[in-house]
């Protein structure tokens, strides 16, 4: 066999879905002991490639792979696992209702072979998790963990039994929901794995991470391998051009400057994770909220929108108090909400794009005739506006790539013409080009008089697109940054330091 005898080599990897070529003859070599970054726009085939390696999809005939010179059976999860391939999938692949112990042991081994004793398994699990995070009760169901904890758990799981140089560790956008300091923890783990000689395949949309962690970088575009280079021989600009297929303009639009009347006020709002919060949100404003995991940032929008019931406080929209804890009331007051959890909260995966987009803004009364054709026509224009690819309104939501799903949900609220948009991690998992489209759409909405509140773990994003950024800590707002004080570094340091309530 002509393949290099160590590391992973892929030859002619192709995969067609009904109606779509996701991968078209990708060749890729990943050398042992290296971190290989895999980049590409949303829908370029990164996750598909990984799912083939994981045995989740079968590739089209003609695709071959070799691991350390041995041919790798593709399309069998068991074979992949046996060969030492370990994965952290884009959606993490955890089972929410199982506890940490069981999630760690899935697919590999328990401490006991014949008899599982709760105590012994807990001790083994704790040992594994402890190196990565503190204070997690391993008997808790995974559903109760924070997104960052979940990611770390998924990574910890791959570490079980990957101490040898034999396998491959694959991380598909592991940092999409991680705050900055957790990213550092993750990188440390990645370097430790790398040190054992195990190659790492690392998928991300965050280009700066490539330069921090990767040795080699490859770019996919439309299912083809279009670029590879040593990291120290390329630039972010060059990568962006390869990802997008063309040089991009400035990524971030200027934040809107003119703020109008107050549209949303919160007074004394307390709820789980948030204490006694006051907030004003103006028409035409993009207000950012930063904060570490657990600072209350994640809960803020849920409380404001009504996904969670606040214990106390008052929320008014355009001067009218809304019923707390009632999403329908918020929506009819003109609020739109993009939750962070795409799979469970922001969309109905098994409905079509059309159905997902129009759900909050169906005609009334509720027995009015819906013309499916007119509805699709309308939705198609919105999908095009947000550069959703493919802009096929009749398609099932679950078959879109991550970034396109995000844009579709955004289209739902923009189409409704919501006056107030509460957005959690609006560009999570979105590629550079897609981000640009989203930023432009958000800017346009703000200029059209909407009030936007964005929470994000991406400090740079907030620094660039918001006129004002609030920083949260321990459930309170501890800093308010705007104008010249608003920089990425200022956000990060304000998140980390104790501050006085702003």
């Amino acid at each position: 066999m002509s393949q290099s005898s160590v590391g992973l080599s892929l030859r002619g990897m192709s995969k067609s879905f009904p109606g779509q070529r996701a991968l078209a003859g990708v060749d890729l070599d990943i050398l042992p002991g290296t971190v290989h970054a895999l980049l590409g726009a949303n829908g370029s085939g990164k996750s598909t490639l990984i799912k083939i390696l994981a045995g989740y999809h079968s590739p089209d005939p003609g695709s071959t792979a070799y691991l350390n010179g041995e041919p790798l059976t593709l399309g069998s999860a068991t074979a992949a696992h046996r060969a030492g391939l370990r994965f952290v999938h884009q959606d993490l692949g955890l089972i929410p209702d199982l506890n940490v112990i069981d999630n760690l042991a899935l697919g590999s081994e328990y401490a006991g072979k014949w008899w599982l004793s709760g105590r012994r398994e807990a001790a083994a699990a704790r040992e594994l998790v402890q190196m990565l995070m503190d204070g997690v009760d391993v008997r808790r169901p995974v559903r109760e963990l924070s997104p960052a904890q979940k990611t770390i758990l998924a990574i910890a799981r791959t570490l079980r039994g990957t101490s040898s140089a034999a396998g491959l560790l694959v991380l598909d956008e592991p940092t999409a929901t991680l705050p900055a300091h957790e990213v550092d923890v993750l990188f440390e783990v990645v370097r430790r794995v790398q040190a054992t000689g195990t190659p790492v395949l690392y998928v991300t949309h965050r280009l700066d991470e490539v330069f921090q962690i990767a040795d080699t970088v490859s770019v996919l575009r439309d299912g083809r391998h279009v670029f590879s280079s040593a990291v120290n021989q390329t630039t972010q600009r060059e990568l962006v051009t390869h990802i997008a297929g063309r040089p991009l303009d400035e990524l971030y639009p200027a934040p809107p400057t003119s703020a109008g009347a107050v549209l949303l006020t919160a007074r004394g709002v307390s709820g789980r994770g948030v204490r006694d919060l006051d907030l004003d949100l103006h028409a035409g404003e993009i207000l950012g909220v930063a904060g570490l995991d657990g600072s209350g940032r994640d809960e803020l929008n849920r409380l404001l929108f009504g996904q969670q019931l606040p214990f106390a406080g008052q929320i008014t929209i355009a001067g009218t108090p809304v019923t707390l804890g009632q999403p329908p009331a918020s929506i009819s007051a003109g609020v739109g909400y993009l939750p962070a959890d795409r799979r469970l909260h922001s969309a109905t995966p098994y409905m079509t794009l059309t159905e997902n987009v129009t759900l909050p803004d169906l005609p009334s009364p509720s027995l009015r005739w819906i013309s499916l054709r007119a509805e699709q026509r309308d939705v198609r224009t919105w999908l095009k506006r947000l550069e959703v690819s493919p802009a096929a309104p009749e398609r099932q939501f679950s078959t879109l790539s991550g970034g396109n799903q995000q844009k579709t949900v955004l289209a739902r609220w923009l189409r409704r013409g919501s006056r107030v948009l509460l957005l959690d991690e609006p560009t999570q998992g979105v590629d550079v080009g897609g981000k640009q489209a989203i930023y432009n759409a958000l800017g346009q909405a703000a200029r059209g008089g909407a009030a936007l509140l964005i929470t994000s773990s991406d400090a740079e994003e907030l620094a660039e697109i918001c006129a004002t950024v609030l920083v949260m800590r321990d459930g309170r707002i501890t800093a308010r940054l705007s104008g010249p004080t608003l920089t990425t570094d200022a956000i990060v340091s304000a998140s980390l330091t104790e501050g006085t309530p702003a």
């Binding site: 079968s58 409905m351 027995l367 078959t399």
Partner: protein, 364 residues
């Protein structure tokens, strides 16, 4: 815990997506899958037309297929609306019996006027629906469990109401409900058509139906998109309960008697029809057209068998089982266009054809 017909991650692989371009190429397989029921129905008609032409190809056969499955169809439509909203109601069978018995007790034993008795019978369905809804929505219990419980309770009520006996001897005014044949079409078939039209409109072309389906496919996401999922669940349970009550009245009128366990016989055909219906027209989703097609598919098959002389009870039973499995299998295979079974043949035969997208699992 919820019963989720269409969204279980396990078996809905995301491989089924298709784009307009792709449509052309795989159109055959997909089309066949969506309409496999229609083809099977046509197949039945051809086979029976050749086998027993003198009895099968008659107006009476047509009328009897239409009229006899109408009640099953009406119940199934209610059940399908519930399933679409994520609610699986097993109490419909007891509900049918109860409503018939109420008509019997009020009309035969107490001499009530017919419209008043029918109103009470249908109102009993509303009450059952609300009781179910209380436990499902307020207490938060899975609908299968709740309705398993309430169906036991209803059976007790029915048997207590009648002391278990059989009521017969309805006045003509009541039995006449089920008799007329405007333009030669049995009135029950007309009622089914009306209810199916309403169901189709509500479920597939109204905001209400959209919200029902969103509730069934992803309640939390639906709630965050402003859907009052609790109200949708209540509506779904009421829809099943009321259609079952109507069916109970119609059955009593049709057979001129009210029996305490008449509903039980409908459990299997209705569930089978609803399940088979999800494989047709809009595979993986609940659709009224698919449901009606499924009901008449099964009805035609059984009717033809009867006419052809397959009189043993086991033949009907075998037919129903085989029809369900075959139709669902065809649908599954055609829809994946890929799927488990054929993949192997395909790979061997046309390796060059790149369109195959089988899941990994099936190669084992």
């Amino acid at each position: 815990m919820s019963f989720n017909m269409t969204t279980a991650p396990a078996e809905v692989t995301t491989d089924d997506a298709e784009s307009p371009q792709r449509r052309q190429s795989s159109a055959g397989g997909r089309h066949f899958a969506r309409f496999s029921g229609v083809y099977v129905l046509i197949g039945f008609i051809v086979v029976y037309a050749l086998w027993v032409p003198e009895t099968f190809l008659t107006r009476i056969t047509l009328q009897s297929i239409l009229g006899d499955q109408a009640i099953t169809g009406i119940i199934t439509i209610g059940v399908v609306i519930g399933l679409a909203a994520g609610v699986f109601d097993l109490s419909f069978a007891s509900n049918i019996s109860l409503s018939g018995i109420i008509c019997g007790v009020l009309i035969i034993n107490h001499g009530w006027p017919i419209p008043a008795a029918i109103a009470v019978a249908i109102f009993s369905g509303v009450v059952v629906g609300l009781v179910n809804a209380f436990f499902v929505v307020k207490i938060g219990i899975n609908s299968i469990v709740v309705t398993l419980g309430t169906s036991s309770l209803l059976a007790a009520v029915t048997s207590w109401l009648t002391n278990g006996t059989y009521l017969t001897g309805f006045p003509k005014g009541f039995t006449n409900i089920a008799i007329p044949k405007p333009l030669g079409i049995p009135i029950l078939a007309v009622m089914l058509a009306v209810i199916a039209l309403i169901g189709w409109y509500v479920l597939e072309h109204s905001p209400l139906g959209r919200r029902l389906q969103a509730t069934g496919l992803g309640p939390e996401a639906a709630r965050l998109a402003g859907v009052n999922t609790a109200r949708m669940t209540v509506f779904a349970l009421l829809a099943i309960a009321v259609t079952s009550s109507i069916a109970g009245v119609l059955i009593a009128a049709k057979i001129n008697s009210a029996t305490p366990d008449v509903g039980a016989a409908y459990l299997l055909p209705v569930i089978a029809g609803a399940m088979l219906g999800t494989t047709q027209i809009k595979p993986g989703r609940f659709s009224i057209a698919g449901t009606v097609l499924a009901i008449f598919l099964l009805a035609t098959g059984v009717k033809g068998l009867q006419l052809a002389g397959g009189g043993q009870a086991w033949i009907t039973s075998a037919f129903n089982g085989a029809a369900l499995l075959l139709a669902v299998t065809f649908a599954a295979l055609g829809e994946r266009n890929v799927g488990g079974f054929w993949r192997r043949f395909r790979l061997r035969r046309r390796v060059s054809e790149t369109a195959s997208s089988e899941t990994a699992e099936s190669t084992r």
